[in-house]
Symmetry: C2
Subunit: 335 residues, 2 copies
C-alpha cells in the first residue's frame, strides 16, 4: 500500500472525508512538525492524532529522525540536538522522547528514532550510523509501552550490501512489529539502490510488514515490491499534483501544457475514478494557469487514486502470478 503524507495533520488540499472517499488504508503524520506545532500534548488532549483528524483508518507516524538529521544536528550517544525550524529554540530528541511523543500522538504504527547519515559517506561513517541506530533501536524498543500501537524498526547501512544485511539481521534480533528500510531513494542510482534493498529484505521475516520510507515513483515502487516491500510513503505524488503534474498510464503528464487547452479527455483515459475523471484536461489546465487551488486538489485526488490502483494491481498480479508482466508494463510506460 501507498500511504499519503499528511505532514502537519492533513494531506495538502484534502480533508479527512476525502481520504475516506479515496479508500485510503493508512495516512502518515510527521512527528517532528506535529511535536513542534501544535505540540503532542495538544493533540493528545484532542483525542490523539485519530481524534484530531477524525480519522478511523490507520495512521503511521515517523520518528522525526529524517527531519532532525536534515537540520544538521549535534549528535551524541544520548540523542540529537538541533534548532527548531519554527522559532530557533534548541531542541533535544532522544529515542525515549521520540517513543513518548509518538505514544501521545497515538498512531497505530510508530517508527524508531534512527540515525540518518548524509549520503554519500565513507563506509566508516555509514557503519557508525548503523551501529548507533541499532543501539538506539534497543532503547526505542525498551521504552515503548503503548498497548495497541505497533512499533517498526528501521534498517540503515547506506548502499553497502553487507552493512544492509547486517543491519537488517540485528534489527530483527531486537524484534519489532514490522521493519522499515530507511536512507534509500535519497539520490543514489537505481543500480545502487536495488542491491542494498535486496540485501536488507533477504534478512527480514516474511510474516512482518516491510516499509520502504520515502518512495513514490511507479518504477521505484514496482522494483521495491519485486524485492519484497509492502508499504510506501512519499510527498512526491501530492507535491507533483499541486504543481500540475499527474501520474498516468502513459507516464507523467504536465497538465499546464498548451496542447491541453481544448482537450476534453480526463487526466488518464485509461484510468476512471469518480473523484477526478469527470474533469477535463482543458478545465484543469485553465485552473492551473489561473492559480486556482481547486486544480491542485483534483490532481492530488487523481494521483493518490492512481497510486492506490497501482498497488491494487500489484497485489492482484502477485496473487495471479502475473507480477513480472505488470513490472514490464510499468517499465515500458514510465522509462
Amino acid at each position: 500500500m501507498f500511504m499519503p503524507v499528511g505532514t502537519r495533520g492533513a494531506v495538502k488540499t484534502l480533508d479527512t472525508a476525502d481520504m475516506e472517499a479515496l479508500g485510503t488504508q493508512t495516512m502518515l503524520g510527521n512527528t517532528y512538525h506535529l511535536m513542534e506545532r501544535p505540540g503532542s500534548d495538544v493533540i493528545e488532549s484532542l483525542g490523539g492524532l485519530h481524534g484530531f483528524l477524525d480519522w478511523d483508518g490507520h495512521l503511521l507516524t515517523d520518528s522525526g529522525g529524517f527531519q532532525v538529521f536534515s537540520l544538521k544536528p549535534k549528535v551524541t550517544e544520548d540523542g540529537a540536538t538541533f534548532k527548531s525550524i519554527y522559532d530557533g529554540a534548541e531542541q533535544h530528541l532522544t529515542p525515549e522522547r521520540a517513543v513518548r511523543v509518538q505514544e501521545q500522538l497515538g498512531a497505530d504504527i510508530a517508527m524508531v528514532l534512527d540515525v540518518v547519515p548524509a549520503l554519500p559517506a565513507p563506509r566508516d561513517e555509514v557503519r557508525s550510523a548503523m551501529e548507533r541506530t541499532l543501539r538506539w533501536a534497543e532503547r526505542n524498543r525498551a521504552t515503548h509501552t503503548h498497548p495497541t500501537q505497533a512499533q517498526f524498526g528501521i534498517v540503515q547501512g547506506g548502499i553497502d550490501v553487507d552493512l544492509r544485511a547486517e543491519s537488517a539481521a540485528r534489527t530483527v534480533e531486537i524484534g519489532f512489529d514490522g521493519y522499515a528500510v530507511g536512507g534509500l531513494s535519497v539520490g543514489e542510482t537505481r543500480d545502487d539502490m536495488v542491491p542494498a534493498l535486496a540485501a536488507a529484505t533477504a534478512e527480514l521475516p516474511v510474516d512482518r510488514p516491510r516499509y520502504f520510507m520515502g518512495l513514490g515513483d511507479p518504477i521505484g515502487l514496482i522494483e521495491a515490491v519485486n524485492n519484497g516491500i509492502d508499504m510506501f510513503d512519499c510527498v512526491l505524488p501530492t507535491r507533483l499534483a499541486r504543481h500540475g503534474t499527474a501520474l498516468t498510464s502513459a507516464g507523467r503528464l504536465n497538465l499546464k501544457r498548451a496542447e491541453f487547452e481544448r482537450d476534453d479527455r480526463p487526466i488518464d483515459p485509461e484510468f476512471e475514478h469518480p473523484l477526478s475523471s469527470r474533469y477535463s484536461r482543458g478545465y484543469l489546465r485553465h485552473l492551473l494557469k489561473a492559480g486556482e487551488p481547486t486544480a491542485g486538489r483534483i490532481i492530488t485526488l487523481h494521483n493518490l487514486a492512481w497510486l492506490a490502483d497501482l498497488t491494487d494491481r500489484m497485489r492482484s498480479a502477485i496473487q495471479t502470478g502475473t507480477f513480472q508482466d505488470l513490472r514490464s508494463e510499468i517499465h515500458e510506460r514510465w522509462s
Copy 2:
C-alpha cells in the same frame, strides 16, 4: 438563495462534487475573468460553462461590468475601453459583446452590461450612468437570442430613492426574465442602502426573481429579504473562510485565536453539518496556523453550508409567518 462565487470557474478550494454535496442551487461565474482566460470560445468548445465545470446545477454569469468599471475604463455610448488585467492589451466591451460572450458561456442566467458609477458621486453623474444603463439595457435585450438562457436587467441609481424607483420602473418596461439591484453594498451605510433598495423593489414585478448583487453578510441578507430580495452572491463568505473566519450562530468567529487551541467543539455547536462539523476548532486552528490549505477548504464548506441554511430558514420563516422573529434574532446575534 445565496449563490457561491466561482470567479475563474471554481469556488476556491472546492470542486464541483463539493458544490453538489453542499446542495448548491446556483453557482456564479465571472464573465470578465473567463472571457480573458481561458476565453469564452475555449469554454464553448468544452461544452460551455456547464460542461467545463461538469455542473448540472444552475449557473449565473455576471456581465463583466463590475470588473470593467473597477478598471476605470474610457466609456462612450458604444461601450467601455480598458486595459486587460492579464496582459495589458486594450479591450472593448459593449452590451452586444457581453451578451454574445455570455451566450457562449451558456449559463442559465445572464446579466446585462450596465454602467456602474463610482459612489459617492454627484446626482447628475448617477442619473447619467442610470440613463446609459437603460439605453444599454435595450441593446442587451435586443441582442439576446439564447433560447434557454434567462436574461436579467440591472437597476442602478445609487442611493437616490427617486432614481432607484425610476430605474426599476423603466427596466421593467423593457422587460427581463428577472431583475437585479446593482451598485449597492459598495460602502454606503445601511441607512442609505435600505431606502434605495426598497424604492427599487417596490417597482419590480412580484412574479420575477430579484437579485441583490454582491451581498453576503447575514444582517445585510435579512434586510434585503425583508425588502423583497430573493437571490444573493458575494465573495466575502469564501474569502473570510480562507482567512480563518467562520460565520456562526454567535456571529463571526476568528478560528486563529489562541483560545481555540484545545477546543474540541465544532465551528458552530448550534449548526451541525456533515461536511464540516466533524472537525474541531482545535484542529482548524492548528491547520490555519500551519498554513495548511485544508483549513480554508473546511471553513469554506462550513460558511457556504451555514449561509444556505440561513436562506432555508428565511424561506421557512416567510412561509410560517415568523420572518420578523428570525430578523430580530439575526440582528441580536450579529450586531
